[in-house]
């Protein structure tokens, strides 16, 4: 940490930053800052001076920051303003695969254990406080999430941890992978009562799920009306305490439970796509990779971010990420995203590659309070574009949108023009076996799905910079530049 003499006044908070009175996040000139309020100053001082900040940032568990002066002439007494390291692309738990959520859960528990070691405790356990740095490295981003630990206190964030992490992980692992989408409905995590009703009976015999989901759910219902008692009985001594050993035991039980949960990425539509054989022969697949790399090199100035739409397991995303470009690989299949993420986390895995579950026919919308608490996928793409040139891939995707989802080509072109300035798009003609497969069970109502119509639709918003047929296939790669 270093103090700088930069002058920063205090503008309005980011739309998602309003719950915690100890501080808030704001942007100025495209730079993200965190204001520490008077209410959070003591806890912040303890974090910084008590050794916890150094331990957590040294272990890559908490985002590092610099302190900047407030510019109010009272730098000694004014609450500090922090400039945290920037996360290139913010993602949300309902966009993560199983392993991403599992790693986020495990670092939250590790951080809480570290905090206890330094006499502090996490006052919230929101999955939204975890982001992925360098693509796939889970890290806690809320510097003001810590409060002094009071001996005997229960963990105030226990319920939130169960809702944000344990319940969705258990549902994905033991019930149905698509139940992970419930996180998009329940923004404060899946209530344990809901999880208890959806999980299979056998989970009642799990040493972790029995207490933390099922009995927790019963306790919630039994004590649903105790709030008034809490307030009216404030002069009475606490009815019970939780010792430090018990708290460590609780964390240990949660960790064991989360580690035991496992989900194998197979059996979904795309997870085995490449293994099962595509309609590319190996030579054509290699040629496609070479051409994509070449087209990417032609984009000037070099993009700071690449979006790979319909990325599958990220074979082409890696071409961009390995060139040092931060790459967000989006796919609707959780198995493909899981495989991509696991490959990123394996030894020698690609850095700067962030795989996310995202269905382009129903992408993440604006959500939460005033519809501005969690931002839509497209809004975040636009923000990324405000920091520099962004490019996007749509490889073997157009036919899924146009034929699989009946979206007219001009609408696809209009959306693409909104999202990024530069595109590498693969045209897949109707004669292609993959398109034939889509048409096998339905009438062909797509007379306008032709290469000429494709070029016409995209020419309205883009310059066609180059086109290259891929040998041995009927497909064509295009490099497009948006008309400004």
């Amino acid at each position: 940490m270093s103090e700088q003499s930069e002058s920063v006044s205090v503008p309005a908070a980011e739309s998602s930053s309003f719950r915690d009175p100890s501080g808030y996040v704001f942007q100025r000139d495209g730079v993200l800052y965190r204001q520490v309020n008077p209410a959070g100053r003591d806890a912040y001082a303890q974090l910084m001076q008590g050794g916890l900040y150094d331990a957590l940032t040294g272990g890559n568990l908490l985002i590092p920051h610099e302190e900047v002066a407030t510019g109010k002439g009272t730098s000694q007494d004014a609450p500090p303003v922090l400039r945290p390291e920037r996360i290139p692309f913010v993602s949300y738990p309902y966009e993560w695969c199983f392993r991403q959520l599992q790693e986020a859960a495990l670092i939250t528990l590790t951080i809480q254990r570290e905090a206890l070691r330094f006499g502090m405790s996490l006052k919230d356990a929101s999955a939204y406080n975890i982001q992925f740095r360098h693509g796939s490295e889970a890290i806690h981003i809320d510097t003001l999430s810590f409060e002094p630990y009071r001996e005997g206190s229960p963990w105030v964030a226990y319920r939130q941890f169960c809702q944000h992490f344990l319940a969705p992980l258990a549902l994905i692992a033991n019930a149905e992978v698509r139940l992970g989408h419930l996180l998009r409905i329940f923004l404060d995590g899946i209530p344990v009562e809901v999880a208890a009703r959806l999980l299979p009976l056998r989970d009642r015999f799990s040493a972790a799920l029995l207490p933390h989901i099922f009995l927790h759910s019963n306790a919630q219902q039994r004590h649903a009306n105790d709030g008034a008692l809490f307030q009216s009985g404030s002069s009475a001594p606490p009815l019970g305490t939780v010792s430090r050993v018990a708290l460590l035991g609780l964390l240990d039980s949660l960790e064991s439970g989360i580690r035991r949960l496992a989900w194998k990425p197979s059996g979904t539509e795309w997870g085995d796509y490449y293994e099962g054989g595509t309609n590319y022969v190996e030579a054509a697949f290699t040629e496609k990779k070479t051409r994509v790399a070449q087209l990417l090199r032609e984009i000037a100035p070099a993009p700071i971010l690449v979006l790979d739409l319909g990325s599958n397991t990220g074979v082409f995303s890696r071409i961009a990420a390995e060139r040092g470009i931060y790459t967000v690989a989006l796919d609707s299949d959780p198995a493909a995203v899981e495989k991509n993420f696991r490959a990123c986390r394996s030894p020698g895995g690609t850095a700067n590659l962030l795989p996310l579950v995202q269905d382009l026919t129903n992408p993440s919308p604006d959500l939460g309070w005033a519809l501005s608490e969690r931002r839509s996928l497209f809004d975040r793409c636009r923000e990324a574009a405000s920091h520099g040139v962004t490019a996007a891939f749509a490889l073997a995707l157009i036919h899924h949108l146009a034929i699989g989802n009946n979206v007219p080509l001009p609408r696809i072109a209009a959306l693409f023009a909104d999202l990024a300035a530069h595109w590498i798009v693969e045209w897949v003609p109707k004669e292609d076996s993959q398109v034939q497969r889509l048409l096998a069970t339905r009438p062909d109502i797509f007379p306008d799905y032709t290469q000429a119509a494709f070029e016409g639709a995209f020419a309205a918003a883009f310059h066609i910079e180059s086109r290259a047929a891929i040998s041995g296939t009927q497909r064509t790669l295009y490099r497009l530049r948006r008309r400004e």
């Binding site: 040493a207 009995l215 306790a219 018990a246 035991g249």
Partner: protein, 108 residues
């Protein structure tokens, strides 16, 4: 289901402990939920006892592997009792002592 299985034992202990529930006041900006507080207070003793047991077993395991290491090469050493091995294997080593996750590996 074997009653002697450590996971079963853990489940039974947790199960029997949870019904002693109580409440304590909340002061944080986040609503911890009355039931969640009661839950923690109610089974605090169970979690604490289990955690202490795990610490004990990891020490026993360490001691056993240490003595095994000393005699290695001289004679074939019998493994620890099946029950003991099972308990040690079923309970992961207390993570406060030996971090194991990827996040832990990154931690200092």
């Amino acid at each position: 289901m074997k009653i002697t299985s450590p996971r079963t034992l853990e489940t039974l202990v947790v199960f029997s402990g949870v019904w002693i529930a109580a409440s304590s006041p909340a002061r944080a900006y986040l609503d911890p939920g009355s039931g969640s507080y009661a839950m923690q207070v109610g089974i605090a003793g169970v979690f604490g006892a289990l955690f202490s047991l795990k610490l004990f077993w990891s020490k026993v395991k360490d001691a056993l592997s240490l003595s095994r290491g000393k005699t290695a090469g001289k004679a074939k050493v019998r493994s620890a009792s099946p029950a003991g091995s099972a308990v040690a294997a079923s309970f992961s080593v207390p993570s406060s002592e030996v971090p194991a996750s990827s996040a832990h590996e990154r931690a200092v």
